[in-house]
């Protein structure tokens, strides 16, 4: 006998309770603290801050804990929280040239002012599982050296002095805010960069990779990749000058791209730009490649039909919160629509069968 599908309310409560229990896991194993996640899973925290568009390592760590390590779910928690925050003001543009770098490399010059600083990178580690970590061994302190006070100017700035690289438009306009205004296409470059920097790391990575394999190739060199802390300053109207209100860790990547010139532009290098919260260099490099690929129109290049050149395709599909929501919503009930389809298919089949019988 049919039992009406009642009890959605009870099912939801029970599911939430079960979920909470699963999240905690075996209670004989010590619980993770938010501080442990923040300190020891820092790259996950960075990704959640970058794609959540909110710089707060503790909240990001909490979100990772609450989401059982599902980073997209954690990003979603941060985004939903971010919506409720009031806007107190706007900072001055960050001066990344004055970054206190913990890592700074250039693939285009062997040495340069400010030097190459390898920093804490996986790059030259051998990817061998370290079973010592399973035994929870403490690490020895790394050797240190006094921080250099030498300025670390941008590589592209040095190329720019000789006119070898295209100069970027400079403006004092406040760019429009992707999180406060609906996306309108074609989008300005600031809007595109906002979308890419909060876009899904996997999606942006694959888009960038596709340009390297020839779908919208832009011949990118990493002119410079730098990671470090940058001061955030804010103008206080009552004071009439700006004060430092804190600092954020950023990864900035500028690529230098071959450009043979076009009808409107002389031969010179062009750039792609990536800027992401935290130590997130895969994302920053990928971002700079995608940014460069999307610039075909302003540089007078051909649109070859490559996905990474296609602004609407990239911008409308890069957000993992939108994507996962729409993807997963198909598990919600659709029986009304399915019923309509069922009736349609039955009717079409009846007619097709009748047709066939009449023909025989």
């Amino acid at each position: 006998m049919y039992v009406a599908v009642k009890g959605g309310e009870r099912a939801i409560d029970a599911a939430h309770a079960w979920l909470a229990e699963e999240r905690r896991g075996d209670t004989s194993v010590a619980e993770l603290s938010v501080a442990q996640i923040r300190e020891q899973l820092a790259l996950a925290v960075n990704r959640v801050m970058a794609e959540g568009s909110l710089y707060d390592a503790d909240l990001a760590a909490l979100a990772i804990k609450q989401s059982r390590g599902d980073l997209i779910e954690a990003i979603f928690l941060i985004r939903a929280y971010r919506t409720t925050l009031p806007r107190l003001g706007v900072s001055l543009p960050l001066e990344t040239a004055e970054m206190a770098v913990s890592r700074r490399i250039s693939a285009t010059f062997k040495d340069l002012p400010g030097g190459q600083i390898l920093g804490p990178t996986f790059d030259y580690t051998h990817r061998l599982l370290d079973f010592k970590l399973a035994a929870e061994g403490e690490v020895a302190a790394a050797p240190t050296a006094p921080a250099s006070l030498e300025p670390v100017p941008h590589v592209t700035g040095m190329l720019g002095r000789d006119g070898l690289i295209q100069s970027e438009a400079y403006g004092n306009d406040t760019p429009s805010d992707l999180t406060r205004e609906p996306m309108e296409l074609p989008a300005s470059r600031p809007l595109r960069l906002q979308a890419i920097t909060r876009g899904d790391e996997g999606f942006i990575l694959s888009m960038a990779y596709s340009t390297q394999r020839g779908y919208g190739r832009t011949h990118a060199f990493v002119g410079e990749l730098r990671i470090g802390a940058v001061a955030v300053e804010m103008e206080i109207p009552e004071l009439g000058f700006s004060v430092e209100i804190g600092e954020v860790e950023l990864t900035e990547c500028e690529t230098v791209n071959q450009f043979k010139g076009s009808k409107t532009e002389p031969p010179q290098f062009t750039r792609g730009y990536g800027l992401v919260f935290g130590q997130t260099e895969r994302k920053a490099i990928a971002m700079s490649l995608v940014d460069r690929a999307l610039r075909w129109k302003e540089l007078g290049e051909d649109f070859t039909g490559a996905p990474a050149q296609d602004e609407e395709f990239v911008l409308m599909h890069s957000d993992n919160i939108q994507a996962t929501g729409f993807l997963e919503h198909i598990k919600l009930p659709h029986y009304v629509d399915f019923q309509a389809e069922l009736e349609m298919i039955r009717k079409l089949r009846r007619e097709a069968m009748a047709h066939k019988e009449a023909a025989e």
Binding site: P182, I321, L332, D337, Q339
Partner: protein, 289 residues
């Protein structure tokens, strides 16, 4: 109930922004108004557009009804209703006639709506031309130019291939002789209820950042051809619980031998009929527990 959030969750600035979009939508029936959709605490695809529109419409005196697939007790309807109970503290109801605001996914209630009611639809893809042309930049141009030839070609091809228009839900309508509009994925059975409805009908698409509207008594004509007129269709059965013949039915599989039963998708409508003494084929005694 004390709440740590603003009334109906969204801050007043955001609600004002959404109300402006709604007003513009009401002023230009069927036109998709871009709005700065916010990230809500439920996922995109779960009705974030509808939730934002409802949040912008609600006042403390409102009585809210939320349905999904016509039913008040489907999990997502329960979840959204709870959300507004928690953040707005408004009264809720399952009775269509008692509600001042109704948020719905995939259905229009069977009980006719009246003046003063607001029906809020959750919309996944607001663009009726989307599956004919994936680019928003192109489809907006097509609407501007009232260039709906592609849609008619699609409907014609359906007839050429299947002998009829093979769209069972999400069936496009033309609003007030101007914009072609996506009615959200309601079954085409519900399409006639869109037209000249005394209630305000508001459509919210969160992920796609669009709001559109049918003001009261607006005309909405389901697209068709003179020789292939639109027909609203449903399963050719009666409700097995309340014996209704004119309501939209869900088909429920009752065993693995191919047995089926048909029940009203509108749970409030069905319950009302049973309370009034109507009994369907399986509606006696133990049914509907």
């Amino acid at each position: 109930m004390a709440s740590e959030y603003n009334f109906a969750y969204l801050d007043e600035q955001t609600k004002r922004m959404i109300r402006r979009a709604i007003l513009k939508g009401v002023a230009i029936p069927g036109y998709q108004v871009p709005f700065a959709s916010r990230e809500m605490p439920m996922p995109y695809g779960w009705g974030t557009g509808g939730v934002q529109v409802t949040a912008a419409c609600l006042v403390p005196e409102d009585r809210l009804k939320v349905i999904d697939q016509g039913a008040d007790d489907t999990t997502n309807a329960v979840s959204i209703r709870r959300f507004f109970q928690r953040t707005a503290g408004v009264a809720v109801t399952e009775a269509t006639a008692d509600a001042t605001v109704i948020q719905t996914r995939h259905r229009i209630p069977e009980t006719p709506l009246t003046e003063g009611q607001i029906l809020v639809y959750q919309v996944p893809i607001p663009e009726p031309l989307r599956f004919l042309e994936p680019r928003e930049t192109e489809t907006r141009k097509m609407h501007e130019l009232e260039d709906y030839g592609l849609m008619h070609v699609k409907l014609y091809e359906d007839i050429a291939r299947h002998g009829q228009i093979a769209t069972a839900y999400d069936y496009p309508v033309k609003v007030e002789g101007r914009y072609v509009m996506d009615p959200s994925p309601i079954p085409k059975f519900d399409n006639p209820k869109l037209a000249r409805n005394p209630a305000i009908q508001l459509f919210g698409a969160g992920r796609e950042q669009r709001i559109y509207a049918l003001p009261p008594y607006a005309e909405a004509v389901s697209l068709d051809f003179d020789d292939y007129p639109f027909t609203a269709s449903k399963a050719d059965h009666q409700c097995d619980l309340c014996d209704a013949s004119g309501s939209y039915l869900d088909e429920v599989i009752t065993d693995d031998q191919g047995s089926r039963m048909y029940v009203c998708s509108d749970t409030d409508f069905c319950r009302g009929r049973r309370e009034a003494g109507h009994v369907g084929r399986l509606g006696g005694g133990e049914a509907g527990q």
